[in-house]
């Protein structure tokens, strides 16, 4: 596995761990860094990296898992469509277990609704081409990494004249919530910026966070050596008193990002306000389908609107996503809210802060 295995080398990791300890010793106080992206959270967990971070460098998980932050109201809309006769729902596997108000897609499939897991949005288009008498709806979730693929699929559908295909769009963008978090009550010492979102958007989007708010940003790859390097670069910035946008993942991320994908996004989508599970509405943090492609907008096609998401008032996911509280501070944790029946965002994904805490205890989060 070229460009994967080399970046999982144990000997180099041990060296980086030493470097990290040395850099962290320069810090005047304990610091808190946030990995914004769920794939970083997953990789940190999978490679056991938390056990390699020094005591005075705390990593908290941010709102970067598109599945976790998808609001209840969106899932309810998807379920409503799944229950509409003649509709086939197509989705990434990630969405199957996400709970709505009273059901989840997995349960709907069990109840006989036609819900299909696909690998790519193009597979959903194939389903549409093969089922002309059905309406095929694809659940468009994901950040800038994923959104270009759904935008391209919409362009392709138009080109091929496939009319029984539409997208229930809940795409989100990353820099806006990061800025919203930074300008709020949250005290963060640095952001580990998402690898593949950055491959699309480049470095520019993070400048206000570093410039205006003085929070260091390091675009970091998802392999373990990348993450260790990213943490070292963040610690260095804090210790030096710098706040810049740096790019650890320069073998993939260009400063200007992927211009072609950006153009596709600008063609198909317009920025819109979006609701984040646990964080609430954030202006300009979502992507809506542009009027020119509205024939492919499932919400318009079926005349449905996203119901206001009524989150359980006792749920403290918002605070947990901001790194202000821990799972044990939530009255629902481990009681009403468990991995088999999650209530809040942090329990939804298996790498969510609460799900990990529930399964593996506090040890999974601190030094295992």
């Amino acid at each position: 596995m070229r460009y994967i295995e080399e970046f999982r080398d144990g000997k180099l990791a041990a060296k980086l761990e030493q470097d990290l300890v040395r850099e962290a010793a320069r810090l005047a106080r304990a610091i808190t860094l946030m990995e914004v992206c769920g794939t970083h959270t997953m990789s940190i967990y999978r490679h056991g990296l938390r056990s390699m971070f020094p005591e005075n460098v705390k990593m908290v998980s941010g709102p970067g898992c598109p599945v976790c932050v998808t609001p209840v109201g969106y899932v309810d809309m998807a379920i409503e469509l799944a229950r509409t006769p003649g509709v086939i729902i197509t989705t990434f596997g990630d969405m199957m277990r996400v709970p709505g108000t009273s059901s989840a897609l997995q349960k709907e499939r069990g109840a006989g609704k036609d819900v299909r897991v696909v690998y790519t949005a193009l597979d959903a288009l194939t389903v549409a081409a093969n089922n002309k008498n059905n309406e095929v709806v694809f659940l468009g979730v994901g950040f800038e990494t994923t959104a270009p693929s759904i935008a391209s699929t919409i362009i392709m559908a138009k080109k091929l004249g496939i009319t029984n295909f539409s997208v229930l769009c809940a795409h989100k963008v990353m820099p806006e919530p990061m800025e919203a978090l930074t300008s709020g009550q949250l005290k963060l010492d640095g952001y580990m910026c998402p690898a593949h979102v950055s491959a699309i958007i480049g470095e520019e989007g993070y400048r206000p966070i570093a410039g205006k708010y003085g929070v260091p940003c390091v675009i970091t790859g998802f392999e373990p050596l990348d993450i260790l390097r990213g943490v070292i670069m963040l610690v260095r910035q804090v210790a030096d008193g710098r706040a810049e946008v740096e790019n650890e993942y320069n073998r993939v991320v260009l400063p200007e990002g992927n211009r072609k994908a950006q153009a596709i996004l600008a063609d198909v989508f317009v920025k819109s306000s979006a609701v984040w599970r646990g964080l609430g509405p954030i202006p300009d943090s979502g992507l809506a389908i542009a009027p020119k492609y509205e024939a492919y907008d499932a919400a318009k096609k079926f005349g449905i609107v996203e119901p206001p998401s009524r989150e359980n008032p006792a749920c403290v996911c918002g605070e947990i996503l901001k790194g202000l509280k821990g799972p044990q501070d939530c009255p629902l944790f481990g009681k009403a809210c468990v991995p088999e029946n999650p209530i809040g965002a942090c329990m939804v994904s298996s790498e969510g802060t609460c799900a990990a805490h529930y399964r593996y205890g506090a040890g999974a989060l601190a030094h295992a």
């Binding site: 990791a13 390699m52 596997g93 690998y119 994901g142």
Partner: protein, 337 residues
């Protein structure tokens, strides 16, 4: 038999059923040898009166996949369940639930695999049943089996016997079966050289027993993969287990496919793998005997049983970090975003 497809009448219990059995099923499975008694039950003689008894049902989509089909899966799976208890497999029952419209050729090739797998393993298909359900009420072919094996005197193998100081050994690469099947699924399709590892493990087990290895635990990590079985063993024995990812045998292609699908190979199904837990002093002996068997050439020590107490399984990653693992939480779904 001129029918190209399974029809409802083939399960009616009447003439068509009789023809399906006498012209398709029996010749395929017994290959000219004497078929078992066609009455309601088969008399069987056991070597002694302590037996192991197991049952399993097989549903797999697609039912023919690279490296095998649902037929050898059913026979090998049942043999392995017996073998993991240290029993010598003797008899297997075979019940089909066929969906109307199943292609006769597909059915025949499954029957061929059953014959091959059972005759290679030296187990007898002692009895069977065939039912047909209307189109849409099944998924082409389901197989239910039961297996009877002769228990070995004095051998007690159970997950609760895992003890501190034991080593965890696996007989070869992980994840092959799950990836082979997934590569054929609609909406997932990819080209890969990965084939299912479906195999009967009883002769490998016999070799291990005959070599005098003190066996504490034997388990076959099928659905749920290595991770789930490891956690089950830790829970049954009340011990902590440390696995080492760097020591786990895995083919490059399985690793590559898992990267594409966002899967952890430790959760992907195997159909010809066994976990052996034995005292460290027997580790070299066990490895040697496994590596000299066709099904154990890549055998490796992948972990250790640490101490008694809170059951848990931790894994040392490729970069030396440590994480805790749990059972597969639900359906194994590919993840993208």
């Amino acid at each position: 038999m001129r029918d190209k497809f399974i029809l409802l009448g083939h399960g009616s219990g009447g003439q068509m059923t009789g023809e399906l059995l006498s012209k398709v099923v029996m010749p395929a499975i017994y290959d000219g040898g004497p078929p078992p008694d066609m009455d309601d039950a088969t008399p069987a003689t056991l070597p002694h009166n302590k037996i192991c008894f197991t049952t399993d049902s097989y549903v797999v989509d697609p039912f023919i996949f690279p490296g095998g089909d649902i037929g050898d899966l059913a026979i090998n799976g049942t043999i392995n369940d017996l073998a993991m208890a240290g029993a010598e497999p003797l008899f297997i029952s075979l019940a089909f639930i066929l969906e109307e419209g199943l292609s006769m050729d597909g059915f025949k090739s499954v029957l061929g695999s059953i014959r091959k797998a059972s005759s290679q393993a030296g187990v007898q298909i002692a009895c069977g049943d065939t039912k047909v359900v209307p189109r849409g009420k099944g998924d082409k072919i389901f197989i239910n089996t039961s297996g009877v094996g002769a228990a070995r005197e004095g051998l007690v193998v159970h997950s609760r016997n895992a003890a501190p100081g034991d080593v965890v050994i696996i007989n070869g690469t992980i994840g092959d079966h799950g990836i082979a099947v997934m590569s054929q699924r609609e909406g997932m399709r990819f080209e890969s050289p990965v084939v299912s590892d479906t195999a009967a493990l009883h002769t490998l087990v016999s070799d291990i027993i005959d070599a005098g290895v003190e066996i504490h635990v034997m388990r076959d990590p099928t659905r749920g993969g290595l991770a789930t079985v490891a956690v089950e063993i830790a829970e049954a024995a009340g011990v902590s287990i440390r696995l080492d990812e760097r020591a786990m045998p895995i083919s490059k292609s399985v690793a590559g496919a898992c990267e594409i699908l966002g899967l952890d190979p430790m959760y992907v199904a195997n159909e010809g793998k066994m976990i052996l837990i034995a005292p460290e002093r027997d580790a070299e002996k066990a490895l040697k005997v496994m590596r000299s068997h066709r099904l154990g050439q890549d055998a490796a020590i992948i972990g250790r049983v640490l101490e008694r107490g809170q059951p848990k399984v931790t894994v040392t990653s490729s970069v030396g970090g440590v994480r805790m693992i749990g059972k597969l939480p639900g359906e194994l779904l590919p993840r993208i975003c």
